[in-house]
Symmetry: C2
Subunit: 184 residues, 2 copies
């Protein structure tokens, strides 16, 4: 049971977003700007960073909903959907390109604490083609998902257990983004 009273039947972050609209407005706006706004990274790449950080934080709801969104977007971007699963299983061996691997390494460092990001981490990402905007967006996505993950789990929100239960919501997030109140 959640630590506070939340509307019944709304999974994960949808409950607190629905119950507390004053903060939800900005949380949704941030997710939309960060994951769908202008960037040198594709939406699929950005959702993959969000999924990876959520999996490192062991947040079941965020990992599964953003994994489903990533899989949908990667297919649209003509990239194999299973890349996101391989990244979460083992970043070292996952068949991603050098730029994305370096950015995911940076995201993993941010998840453990901002000061862990080294000049070497950043140099590796730049050498593989990452620009300032890609590095900025990676750091902020990783930081923001520490917030979303801790918000969802810190309130002990309810979440569906089966991975397949996230496919429909993931497709909605992929197609419509984060600004309409029905897409959680």
């Amino acid at each position: 049971m959640a630590h506070i009273s939340l509307p019944a039947g709304l999974p994960g972050i949808s409950g607190p977003l629905n119950q507390y609209p004053e903060t939800a407005l900005h949380l949704r706006g941030l997710a939309q700007a960060l994951l769908r706004g202008p960037s040198s990274l594709t939406p699929g790449e950005r959702e993959m960073i969000a999924t990876y950080v959520s999996s490192q934080n062991n947040c079941w709801f965020c990992t599964n909903s953003h994994r489903a969104a990533t899989r949908y977007l990667l297919v649209e971007e003509e990239t194999p959907a299973e890349l996101v699963d391989q990244v979460c299983q083992d970043l070292e061996t996952a068949p991603v390109n050098d730029k994305i691997r370096a950015l995911l390494m940076i995201a993993g460092q941010v998840q453990q604490g901002g000061r862990r990001v080294s000049e070497e981490n950043v140099a590796k990402a730049r050498l593989a083609g990452a620009d300032d905007k890609a590095i900025h967006d990676t750091v902020l996505i990783a930081a923001a998902f520490c917030m979303f993950n801790h918000y969802v789990d810190g309130l002990a929100t309810w979440a569906p257990e089966k991975e397949s239960d996230y496919e429909e919501q993931g497709a909605l997030l992929a197609q419509h983004g984060y600004v309409t109140p029905t897409t959680g």
Copy 2:
């Protein structure tokens, strides 16, 4: 030196907020709603939670700027300014009331990972008078400051070294909040 190009002379989060206005809009809006909007906690109490979490994350810029804002607000709320310093030094012995101590314990658990918040933590806060809104706001402030702290440090932003350099900015944050671009 910061990991990306940022405007010279702007400390901490002010640099990336200035350089990346699309996300700054929502980050400022979130801080304003969370720390100054309607709540069963005072602005001083909420800034104290933000300061405590920033100190647990070892984020020098956020700890010092929010500590200065907290000190200003506590005095306005007829509470000793040094409470925030005592809380950061040793939460167990700091002379705060039972409600605030229980909420700061929850914030500390969120900082370490959302799933650490126990039913006992929440029961203690409720027994001391915390309502749903206070518990919600505490969890989201703690989660949001994990984001702000990791954003500031993950980009290796510049920050003034002396604590006294934060007094003026703290007073501005206390008086004007987070929505105008000049108050960082």
